[in-house]
Symmetry: none
């Protein structure tokens, strides 16, 4: 199934920068669940062509959205809507999602025959050392 087409309405006379309009509208569509986690956005070039603007302008919008953790851009691959915690999940749902996440993690670690102590130790250490920026380059 082809990607849902991203529908944006740019007003070139509105006084608002184009990239801001893109940011706002994507943000709005995410908030309104028109765009859902995992959805792929058009490539910078495709969207630029459709809107008849320079692809750098799209890239700029995407960069801002990426920094706001709303989308995830991956060089050579594409850009995707990230998982956003629903603003009003109940505490119970929140807890359950952490439970599920943790269970998958522990299950996997145990399958690889790490001991409980090793796991606990590793979690404690990494939590201590955690920096939000480290999320970007977790691949080495």
């Amino acid at each position: 199934m082809p990607n849902k087409k991203l529908l944006l309405q740019i007003d070139f006379r509105s006084g608002l920068p184009i990239y801001t309009q893109i940011v706002n509208q994507v943000q709005a569509q995410v908030a309104g669940s028109v765009l859902k986690p995992g959805d792929q956005l058009p490539t910078v070039r495709a969207l630029a062509e459709e809107l008849r603007i320079n692809f750098n302008t799209v890239a700029r919008a995407y960069r801002i959205l990426d920094e706001a953790r709303i989308i995830s851009t991956q060089q050579g691959r594409g850009t995707y809507i990230t998982e956003i915690p629903p603003p009003k999940v109940t505490e119970r749902l929140r807890r359950e999602s952490l439970e599920a996440l943790t269970q998958r993690y522990i299950s996997e670690a145990m399958r690889l025959e790490f001991s409980k102590d090793e796991i606990n130790e590793m979690v404690r250490n990494q939590l201590k050392a955690w920096k939000a920026s480290a999320q970007a380059n977790q691949n080495e």
Copy 2:
């Protein structure tokens, strides 16, 4: 006896390149003795088909693993887990694998805006309550 099937879980939106995900997971399974010396890995084409990716992507992952002496690829024959990996390497692998796994977990949890305390607490509780049998088939 047919080959044990290599079980890999690729997340196309994780931000990690596919080949890196393959490397990490094979590495982890070697470290955790899920894959043992002499085990044959799927052919580049077979694994590629299963994961619905290009076989060159698998080949790239295999090349990296080969350079790290974790596997041995042989043109025309197949790829195998290296015999007698030095204990030093194994230990380092084990550590790195758990590190990578844990980082992914924490990164995900933090993105869902759980606090360090919440995460730590959840891990400790689940570890305490862990029953291997209960988790047998929770990975899908």
